[in-house]
Subunit: 349 residues, 2 copies
């Protein structure tokens, strides 16, 4: 007759079950959970006891349906294998937790098509905001985001035009400044070990950095760098061999700029294996998107990015917007930093 006291295995309790157990209406239970101040102390206690007894966990799907707010924020990154992006996600996660929001995560594998698919699927959960990586999206993605009518943040690049808000830095400047740094160190016969043109099509941040490098070289009036592409820019050993072969094949070089830290670290290791002195015979620098530059010997000179900060700010931009604080700055530049380590030196001229 009475399973009121839950003597046998209860089904997942809902509001109504809690209400019955406590002898009140569903609405009262809802109030206890959401606006405890509006309920009499005695009632509140009764209801709370019922909630505890039944192990009630509110169904947020129903909640989302009724209020038009899910408490969920979507974030899309290219990959988590790259530590700057996992740092970014950690930053987002931390910031969201403060506000009791949840993180729905997707990995686009550097593919705008996959990103589009993910956006479509994830938007179905009616997130309160969405954070994307980069500025390169399909036309359909743009449409989807527009009709979603939610705050959108694009991370990791500052462009002229953004869907909504943005947090990142000037990738062109990052490439430009590391090349300038090398030039000001006295290196004048530069090689560039890049990812690949195909990769740069889908990763226009890398493309912008490349352009920055070429621009700096052009400004300095030294010869354009020889360029070598690597096959798999996330494979240290493979990239290192390609970089070292490149150095061997171009005897005039005094320094190489590597498009990322994986390549840079690989190059240092492999060049040293082959007996090259770094930086005396060949200097090496990277562009920081892996946070491993400090681990090798000699340390890799690099451009340091602030992944976790980018994530934190991206989430904050969303949250501020949701809290009605129309962000003063919808576009935030977190900058970058040239970190000079022993893989480069001031070259006596």
């Amino acid at each position: 007759m009475s399973d009121k006291k839950g003597s046998y295995r209860q089904e997942r309790a809902n509001l109504m079950a809690v209400a019955k157990y406590a002898g009140v209406s569903a609405m009262t239970v809802s109030r206890v959970l959401n606006q405890p101040g509006k309920v009499a102390e005695a009632t509140r206690k009764k209801v709370q006891a019922a909630v505890d007894a039944l192990g009630y966990v509110p169904n947020l799907a129903a909640n989302t349906l009724r209020r038009e707010r899910s408490g969920v924020i979507v974030a899309l990154v290219p990959t988590l294998e790259n530590s700057v992006f996992s740092d970014t996600v950690q930053g987002i996660s931390n910031a969201l937790e403060q506000e009791g929001c949840q993180l729905l995560l997707g990995c686009s594998s550097y593919s705008p098509e996959r990103e589009e698919k993910l956006v479509r699927a994830l938007l179905g959960h009616r997130p309160d905001g969405i954070i994307l990586t980069g500025t390169l999206h399909t036309a359909e993605t743009h449409k989807l985001l527009e009709s979603a009518r939610i705050p959108v943040v694009e991370m990791w690049d500052i462009a002229a035009d953004h869907i909504d808000m943005a947090v990142g830095f000037d990738n062109f400047a990052a490439g430009h400044d590391i090349a300038s740094h090398m030039i000001s160190c006295g290196y004048e016969s530069l090689g560039y070990v890049a990812t690949s043109p195909e990769h740069e099509i889908h990763e226009n941040r890398a493309a912008k950095r490349s352009k920055g490098i070429y621009a700096a070289v052009a400004e300095a009036g030294i010869g354009m760098p020889a360029r070598q592409n690597v096959r798999n820019p996330l494979d240290i050993a493979d990239s290192g061999v390609i970089a070292a072969d490149f150095v061997v094949a171009n005897p005039g070089l005094d320094a190489i700029i590597c498009a990322n830290e994986i390549i840079g670290v690989g190059a240092i290791a492999e060049l040293q294996n082959r007996g090259w002195q770094i930086p005396d015979q060949i200097a090496v620098c990277g562009i920081g998107d892996a946070n491993i530059a400090a681990l090798v010997t000699p340390g890799l000179t690099t451009v340091q990015f602030y992944g976790q900060d980018i994530g934190k700010r991206a989430a904050e931009l969303i949250l501020d917007r949701l809290n009605g604080q129309q962000a003063a700055e919808g576009k935030q530049d977190v900058g970058f930093r040239i970190v000079s380590r022993a893989s480069t030196a001031e070259k006596p001229s």
Copy 2:
């Protein structure tokens, strides 16, 4: 009169809107989306056109409410700053994408209390499954998981008793085997640079590895290792200094075992700074939870774990269960591997 053609800015369309636009019932639209085979070709095309025209994105909150299935899997990891866990999440994400499931992610910061909070909040979204890290959970977490009635996977450790399914390896054995390896290399005056007893309380996987180390030493009948704890086991520089000080303070040591790779890498760097020859004057090994052992020179001997594989299998266990394939093995041991690098050597006795 008619905004049928969406001449002005339409509100977010729902099933009914699509149905009206296409001149069919809501149910037919639903069928086109979910069981296209059951709808006449002509109707299907009409409806599809309406879906496209209105940019309709199904509301999954309603879906979740009605069917009792959300397509969402929850994963909880301690942190993403540690690359093994970001690899794990990547593995989960990849596996889920195959099946069109979405990933709701939380970071517990190694705190069972925070984990409990997250479990409670995330369970509200009615995930179809949940993946946790480790076997250490509050009593309340256990209750919550039990009443959720969904597949549960515990990752990164294989224990005698699991909530439901598990994928990981024997942490005791990992500690035991790396210590045995060192002993078999001929080192006999070992130091142990551990995290801290407080840390091990909440990270019982580390505690198990410690026990494994002590057990191996006891078996070998050599003296118990001197132990030094580090303050912040995720800070390379800080850990390195502490490890090096420890070596200096214990002149008899011929090798140190570091509780993780961060400490190991830091120790190598700092000891070299101070002029120590590795492994001749002091050998160093780590326990792999950061995947950075190969980057330093000399390479750090370590126990390699398979983070991405663990994540992949964890997700597959969930998915298999959801697809009704009662997994043959609810407990999967993915093992680990001792990787011997130049930070240790066969010691001539």
